[in-house]
């Protein structure tokens, strides 16, 4: 009985620690391409913000990309970071559109 109690007292923390390690290991690493596209999007969005040319949809796309990165979903990172990058570029280009007719 006493041996059983000692066994449970030592085994339980060990099992919990191993389970935690397993959970961390289950989040895949981002692909190099995804990481690079995300970094590029962060830079481009920051530029658009400085120029007061940021769209709300761009912010939302970058948020989705960051969330996907946290989950290790490279495909989603590529999709959303790509959108953020494109829209940040368009927002800055919009500053140079002709003004509407007047």
């Amino acid at each position: 009985m006493r041996f059983t109690s000692i066994l449970c007292a030592t085994a339980l923390p060990l099992c919990l620690a191993l389970a935690g390690t397993a959970r961390a290991d289950s989040v895949p690493a981002l692909s190099e391409e995804a990481a690079a596209v995300l970094q590029g999007a962060e830079t481009r969005v920051s530029q658009a913000r400085e120029q007061k040319a940021l769209w709300t949809s761009t912010e939302a796309a970058l948020h989705e990309a960051r969330e996907a990165a946290r989950k290790g979903d490279s495909a989603a990172v590529l999709k959303f970071a790509g959108q953020a990058n494109d829209q940040a570029f368009l927002g800055m280009a919009q500053l140079h559109y002709p003004v509407t007719g007047h």
Binding site: W55, T56, S57, E59, Q94, L95, Y97, T100, G101
Partner: protein, 278 residues
């Protein structure tokens, strides 16, 4: 002789290059007002202050009924208390503004040559606070600046909007505001003018689009539903969000210049603060 003709031709050609010869503020304002008048000849100029309500007798009737006993009178009363409560040094806002703050709001915004920037009515109130040792209110805080202006601007009800553009600095600020008004923004790629000049009277998102002249005279407004208080620049912020553009800073230089230009378009129309809007 040939040289004179050549020089004259070149000068003439320069006139055709956009930006070289610009319409004066007054001719620009008249052009915008005329554009609305041509499209809606039956809407009197004085009724531009009602905006979208001018296109719907039913909506205007509901507005008139609401304004007989406004449900947001309690909020205006809070603003009155903020206005009348003395600062720690015993002075009040009335001591800062000409005429005790009565019949002045129509002169704002104005361009301060000394500070080389546009000064809005809200900035003038904060200047008063600073001059009397009080911390400034945040422009985006409807619980302080919003309520204060909800009452303070009613002291100028009936005053005609009278914005002046005198001097190089004022002209520069006016043009910056003009550019922001006509510049496409956001994922939806709209400018302010897209809705409020080019599509006045059309319906977007179940509501008539109001005309730009007449818009700046009726703020703050209490919006339909829960009667949320909106200052004019808070409305700019929401409009930007609606076209999916990240809003600019309420009380910042860009919106101040925009308000300067936008208010100029309403010159000659009477102010009425703290009204209901859907």
């Amino acid at each position: 002789m040939k040289r004179i003709c050549l020089v004259a031709s070149c000068l003439g050609a320069l006139l055709l290059v956009p930006g070289i010869v610009r319409a004066s503020p007054e001719s620009l304002r008249e052009k915008v007002v005329d554009a609305v008048a041509r499209k809606f000849p039956d809407v009197p100029f004085a009724n531009y202050v009602y905006g979208a309500l001018a296109f719907s007798p039913d909506a205007k009737g509901q507005y008139d009924a609401m304004m007989e006993f406004p449900p947001f009178e309690g909020e205006i009363e809070k603003g009155r208390k903020l206005w009348e409560t003395p600062f720690a040094n015993g002075r009040t806002y009335a001591d800062c503004l000409p005429g005790g703050g009565r019949q002045v709001a129509g002169n704002y915004p104005y361009f301060d040559d000394a500070r080389q920037k546009v000064v809005t009515f809200e900035m003038a109130l904060n200047d008063c606070r600073a001059a009397n040792g009080e911390a400034p209110y945040k422009h985006a805080d409807m619980g302080t600046m919003g309520l204060l202006t909800a009452y303070a601007r009613t002291l100028s009800d009936g005053m005609k909007m009278h914005i002046r553009v005198d001097g190089e600095g004022a002209e520069k600020a006016f043009r910056a505001g003009e550019r922001l008004f006509y510049q496409r923004r956001g994922q939806l790629n709209f400018s302010c003018a897209t809705c409020h000049v080019d599509n006045v009277g059309n319906i977007l998102r179940t509501e008539y689009l109001s005309m730009a002249p007449g818009q700046a005279v009726h703020w703050p407004a209490f919006r339909g539903g829960d009667y949320t208080l909106f200052t004019l620049q808070r409305r700019y912020s929401v409009c930007n969000q609606l076209v999916r553009s990240v809003p600019l800073e309420i009380g910042g230089e860009d919106y101040n210049n925009l308000e300067y230009f936008h208010s100029y378009l309403s010159n000659g129309l009477p102010l009425q603060a703290s009204v209901f809007r859907k």
